[in-house]
Assembly symmetry: C3
Homo-oligomer: 282 residues x 3
């Protein structure tokens, strides 16, 4: 997979996203998640609704093996028990050995020492993608002490320098979630202004997006799409579904239900029609 | 409880299922679940909706004791942490000592070594029932290396020989989930063609059925119903509720919500009216 | 914060509850939960819907630190793994050192030895509030062997002596959940007759209330409201939302969804209008 993307217009990006969504549904990527206990069920449901095949394998002596056969891997640090910490390192080694793309979600690092140390070990293993809110990306880049939990206390654009630095340092695509998502590979930056504020009122609204990125990266291996585009496609599909869900929801409870229905019903051609994307060279 | 069932027509089986559902609601069976972190909440909600009393006790030095006082026990191997592995062995010992019926759900065994070893240890303790998809049942019988996770890559009828072999070897009722559920005690086979494809789009759709089987087996102790019939009754009640839910759902998110409502509202007499059951001697 | 409350009428209590709900939404209290794997997602969603900021930090070497910066802490013993047991003790030490209010929910103690021992250790550290059903409160006070799991097998009023004894012994507000919630600080008793039976058909219906109490206690630090009133306000807001949800629900599945929507939409002035509260000196 090349790390270089030919200049292309936003509409081309949305068109590629549409193709990736079709590819994902045709051959559901086996998406291996090591994620926190708060959001495991919701994350699996998001992947199933979208059309991917989730598997939550966070057991030592299984995770490494499984990462080798999976299409994509998510490592989310929300509740990093000792078992999960060891399984995460094992999974990353297995993924890297097999060339499986993997996503690091450094939940709430900065103030919390155990996950912060683990995140630094993991990022050194060069994740295909890193997803976090601005506070987490700043903390991972060493530019901030982090937020006060899973809240973003900074806006994505406040983290652009940190995101670019991480992308260059580790060869990763870095996605900063917020009202406008910011995604960079260190050379170009994509901004996506889709989504809805209700995503912040559902636990796992951000965590599940990391899993969707792993699924899209898995699908992208088959189509030969580069990682920046795959990560942007995941964000676009997810946030367009969120917009459709928000139109039907009466609050955060019904929004979560509608989001799953929308992830299942959103069609590739809907992505281009709804996309609010901007892509620029840095 | 006898392991022999008098020959009876399908309508008799549905009638017995209806009686069991009434009995379960009259005296909610305390259903002890050791299950994976992905589906604990959904599983408990399925049991509560149906009318059973769930308790998720997966702690060493508690699980064995609790299995002795529970009406039925589920051991699901979806995320078998060291704590859960030890608690599972303890619970099975407690259940067997007390005569509590228990269900083994060997999630994703075959390719994953830790749970595969545990499943073989557990099955040797003679579960009252074993529930899995075709790949898992084939793997447990030693006839396949298993699927690629929780997906069934084989149809239930592809696993009939494996199911019968397991049933005979361990004295268990074996239930193979799929588009048509197959349930056997090694002497007879019941096929149930109820349900809906949306069950495969909700995480825990299969895992929660294992818990429902444990609840029905608990209720069956009181009524003296044999295990094959109790397991079939659980499948029937669950899949009939799923059909009713699917009629009202707009996608996988709303289906999960409607399934819980349907499990609460389905009445004993609905089972016979909706049943697509076939029962045969082997 | 004073442990003494000036005599005030029920309408004053509802008015204070309304003010607290406003304060909570204006400055979302960071609510640190160590809770069981069955209800983590639902609990976080309840807090987010209401307007609080949940963080589920149950990792050793993080939990103590985090309890020091959180606004309120919940320790729920539903699935007390070794990691969570150590993290709970650490969190309580951190909370007490920082003056952070904390809630103990002794789920299913009495019959289950590991959590019962832990609950006795924790209660000795003088929780700001204790929430449980009647069986659990009786067991914690040493007056009963406990229920058969998370069911209440006794009514709240059967536990009034136990609740008062615990309140006096440990300087805690004690809340006994049931059809009529009973809340006491050992000097006065508040009874709240709001809520709906559907809360008992959703897993986490009680556990999430413990988290809401931690959030209200966090908000109460800012407003200077005393703990008895904060705990009563949490119960009132939660049960009034439950009543509104029940009016729109068709069963336990849709009730859980509607409850989240109602927690987000319930307004401070709705509390006084709907309150069925009684407050008396002992």
């Amino acid at each position: 997979m090349s790390d270089r993307l030919r200049p292309e217009s936003e509409s081309t990006l949305a068109a590629t996203a549409a193709e990736l969504l079709s590819a994902l549904r045709e051959t559901p990527p086996l998406t291996h998640c090591i994620t926190n206990t708060v959001v495991t069920g919701f994350t699996a449901n998001v992947l199933l609704a979208l059309g991917a095949a989730p598997a939550m394998v966070d057991i030592v002596d299984e995770a490494g093996l499984f990462a080798g056969v999976a299409s994509g891997v998510l490592i989310n640090l929300g509740t990093p028990t000792p078992e999960q910490r060891e399984a995460s390192l094992e999974a990353v080694a297995g993924a890297n050995a097999a060339g499986t793309p993997w996503v690091l979600d450094p939940v709430a690092i900065g103030a919390l020492p155990v996950r912060t140390a683990l995140a630094h070990d993991l990022v050194a293993a060069r994740p295909t993608a890193i997803r976090g809110n601005a506070s987490e990306i700043l903390a991972l880049a060493g530019l901030s002490a982090g937020g006060r939990g899973v809240d973003a206390t900074d806006t994505p654009d406040a983290a652009i320098d940190a995101a670019v630095a991480l992308a260059v340092r580790h060869g990763s695509v870095v996605a900063v979630s917020g009202a406008v998502d910011l995604i960079t590979d260190g050379h170009r930056v994509v901004r996506i202004a889709n989504g809805d504020e209700l995503l912040t009122r559902v636990t796992g609204g951000g965590c599940a997006l990391g899993a969707v990125m792993a699924a899209f990266l898995g699908a992208a291996r088959t189509t030969g799409t580069e990682s920046l585009v795959a990560v942007a496609a995941a964000s676009l599909a997810y946030t367009v579904a969120a917009e459709r869900a928000a139109m039907r929801a009466s609050g955060p409870g019904s929004f979560a239900v509608e989001l799953l229905d929308a992830l299942a019903s959103v069609q590739p051609h809907d992505l281009a029609a709804a996309a609010h994307i901007e892509e620029r060279a840095l």
